[in-house]
């Protein structure tokens, strides 16, 4: 029967399958809507300001916008087509893949094809895929750090409420939450990479290439990013713990003669962590779409930096690609968080 009789058990995952399927279907719709909105913003807003497709095409012709070049690009990128047609091409690309006239021959990009960058005619999806490990490394590594340290400090603060430790920890947490990443990151770089060469030449190295170097070069970005989130999580955990430790079931646990450590961890922390875990899922989902400031500060080529450049260069396929990928991560994170919530809290029913 049950391996662990009486342990909290998943509320019949089989029962949740219809729920999961429904959510996945909604995900597809959501991504479509996101793409439509992005499309609209990109094209319609300048149109409302009076820009025509010629003027739009000028941006992608480099430094030499002769009318012939501009018209050629206008046709090539399809700006002279109605918006619906352009959007249709985009969707078709995602579902079926697309052909691209690279000059002497046509290249084919398989689905999901987010098109070719306006700027350098390179397919967007492979570029994003190669950026993803960087962001993922950054996000997951920082996530582990902030979860462990943030919740630990939060728990300790809650248990030692009002003491010097608590005040100091919450003071530092306030700093962590208030200081922007491009400040802490630059300070960290200046001190630990240039002034004292503890982490010289911070550049992303692939995990499969050189795991030790991968980790060493990520330590500064990890701590910078984690500092911000750990501060948040410390405060959240502390508040959650304070609330939980005042609950009646804590009193019951003590009344049973349970050792205080077990009361704190098994009864208190377990309950306090539930909202933390769900927030964590959301934060991680958002971060996977790109830790923009951290990547920019440390010159790491992840999805965040990709997004910044895409926007700076007004490059629609890149923008669409990264927006949809980020939206996808957020939606999936939401779904996982909802499932987790049902697993963790047996009162929740779908």
């Amino acid at each position: 029967m049950l391996r662990c009789p009486g342990c909290p058990r998943a509320p019949g995952l089989r029962a949740m399958i219809p729920f999961i399927v429904r959510r996945l279907v909604i995900t597809v719709f959501l991504l479509l809507v996101v793409s439509m909105i992005t499309f609209a913003i990109f094209f319609l807003v300048p149109r409302l300001a009076g820009q025509n497709s010629y003027q739009l095409a000028v941006q992608y012709v480099g430094r030499n916008p002769t009318p012939a070049a501009v018209h050629a690009i206008e046709r090539k990128l399809g700006f002279d087509q109605p918006l619906v047609v352009q959007y249709g091409r985009f969707v078709r690309g995602i579902v079926l893949g697309a052909h691209y006239d690279a000059g002497p021959d046509k290249t084919y990009c398989p689905p999901p094809c987010f098109g070719y960058s306006f700027r350098n005619q390179q397919p967007v999806w492979p570029m994003m895929l190669s950026d993803l490990p960087v962001t993922a490394s950054l996000a997951f590594g920082a996530a582990v750090l902030w979860l462990v340290f943030g919740t630990a400090i939060g728990v300790l603060s809650a248990l030692r409420r009002g003491t010097v430790f608590d005040r100091a920890a919450m003071g530092i947490a306030l700093a962590g939450v208030s200081l922007p990443i491009f400040f802490t990151g630059l300070v960290a770089l200046e001190l630990f990479s240039f002034k004292w060469p503890i982490f010289p030449n911070v550049q992303y190295v692939g995990l499969t290439q050189n795991p030790l170097l991968w980790a060493r070069n990520l330590i500064l970005p990890w701590t910078t990013l984690a500092f911000l989130y750990a501060a948040l999580y410390a405060r959240l955990t502390r508040a959650g713990m304070l609330e939980t430790m005042g609950e009646d079931y804590i009193r019951t646990a003590r009344a049973k003669g349970l050792a205080e450590r077990k009361v704190i961890v098994k009864h208190g922390l377990r309950a306090a962590l539930t909202p933390i875990v769900t927030i964590f899922g959301m934060d991680l989902g958002l971060l996977l779409g790109g830790a923009v400031l951290t990547e920019f500060t440390f010159s790491m080529h992840g999805l965040g930096l990709f997004t910044v450049l895409a926007i700076q260069n007004n490059d629609l396929p890149e923008i669409l690609g990264v927006v949809m990928l980020a939206a996808f991560f957020v939606v999936i994170a939401n779904l996982i968080v909802d499932i987790l919530y049902a697993v963790v809290d047996p009162r929740v029913r779908y």
Binding site: Q55, V58, Q59, Y60, V61, G62, R63, N64, P65, T66, A68, A69, A72, I73, R75, K76, Y100, D101, A102, G103, P104, D105, T107, Y116, N120, Q121, Q122, M127, S130, P180, F182, F183, G185, L186, V187, L189, E190, L191, S193, F194, K195, P197, P200, N201, Q203, F296, T297, F298, S299, H301, L305, F306, L309
Partner: protein, 584 residues
Amino acid sequence: MKRRRIFPFAAAGVAVALGLAACGGSSNKSAPQQKSSAYNAAINGVVNPSSHKGGTLTFDLSSVPDSTDMGNTYYAFMWNTVRLYSRALVTYKSVPGAAGNTIMPDLATSLGQVSSDGLTWTYHLKPNIKFEDGTTVTSQDVKYAVERTYAKDVLPNGPSYFKLLLKDPSYPGPYKDKTPGKMGLTSITTPDASTIVFHLAKPFSEFDYVAALPQTAPVPPAKDKGANYQLHPVSTGPYMFQSYQPDKQFVLVKNPNWDPATDPNRKQLVNKFVFNLNVNADTIDQNLFHNFAQVDMAGTGVQAAGRARVLSNPALKANADDALSGFLWFTYINTKVKPLDNVHCRRAVEYAADKTAYQTAYGGPVAGGDIASTVMPPTVTGYQKFDLYEATTKPHGDVAKAKQELSACGHASGFSTTMAYRSDRPKEKATATAEQQALSRVGIKLTLQGYPSGKYFTDFAGVPNFVHSHNLGLDIGGWAPDWPTGYGFLYYITAGPAISPAGNTNIEELNDPAVNSMFDKAVKTTDTAARNAIWSQIDRRVMSDAVILPGVYAKSLLYRNPNLTNVSLQQYYAMYDYATLGLK
């Protein structure tokens, strides 16, 4: 055409970095004192001459190349870099000083042989020059490369001089070319495998400069991948592509099929070049100081924080060069907006403007540049110094003379007009504010109007109708030449025929018959010295017309990593010559 440099954005934490740099003041561990290393040593000499081989040279760039395809790029630093893996028909000498503006043969045996009517230019290729795969370069490969520049839908970025100057402007480009072998461009003929002949529509005496463009670097038609050729252009230079991750990094390694005997200009010293893209601009400077990278690829100088550090630290300063960048920052004085249609009113502006304030707005003598009194900067062949409006003798302006000129144009108490500038360029904004103040001393009231730089030429200042209707009598701008002669510098900003209804660069709408005829004459003058003299005459005439208010000959403070060997400033590219570098 205007060739652009990159002006990287400073990160938001500049102030912090500055503060930390100030209290750091660290002695740079990687900067041993060299006798030959001194401030500005690379401008007129070669620093650390050496034939030592080996090592990996790292370049950092704060953005990305517009393209690594030689036929599709329009940035000075790229035109410098592509010489590592490509050779054009002719090229610039890799020597420091003014001699760097000289054209010398590269693939060709000599400079172009021009026919007596000036319409035919012939080049002969050196024998047995090979691509990286061992195949021999033929004249058809060069023709094909030029044909590619007509395919603007696939390769839109590069300049369009061939289409402008050659006889067959309607050629659709090789990707739409139905002729066998895709040799459909009739204005280039290849009588044999080592001869290439260009047929011009009109005489153009400076065609050698056009042949020096990277667009004449040969491309084997069978290996052309169009928009994807940038991922691995086939090399004729000392290095070739090993890998390219777009937006991230590309790596060059030695090309075994490069023959140094045919190429006295370049060196093949290091084993590998690594180009890191999209690196934070301030981080690049730090990387240079700490030897995590050796060259800032953009070649436009250190950021504000780095500059403060370099200038205050003698060890670092010894490795710096404050070089002219080839740009002139100036203000157009439009000839169609009243009352500036009267030359005396324009001269009043010339006299009244505060040149020191202009220089300060651009960053002062080191970071901004030298006060300018001519249109052509000293880096251009044909430059001669003259000063009609006391810019160098009375840099704060001459109020008395300005007032005299105002009386002469009938506006003794001054007049009003609008000054346009690019709103996202702080230096231009500072200039506008400073000159507003300076000109108000003589009663010239300026209304300042900012416009986004992306559309400055396409929609605003570059549209004569807009300029007229919005009273934009003064327009701030800048210019650098596609090649270092008077034509390259002056034509598009002062010639009558260059005026166009949109994307106009002759913003002052100067249509002086004297100037126009001097240009006509110059393009027919094949004698270099005679031609160069004409450029200076045009310069004088333009300044006499008072249609341009020169600001500064721009300078950039470059940092020379002390581990580099054979470092010198290439005057045309206005940055370190990348084709000669080695490592200690």
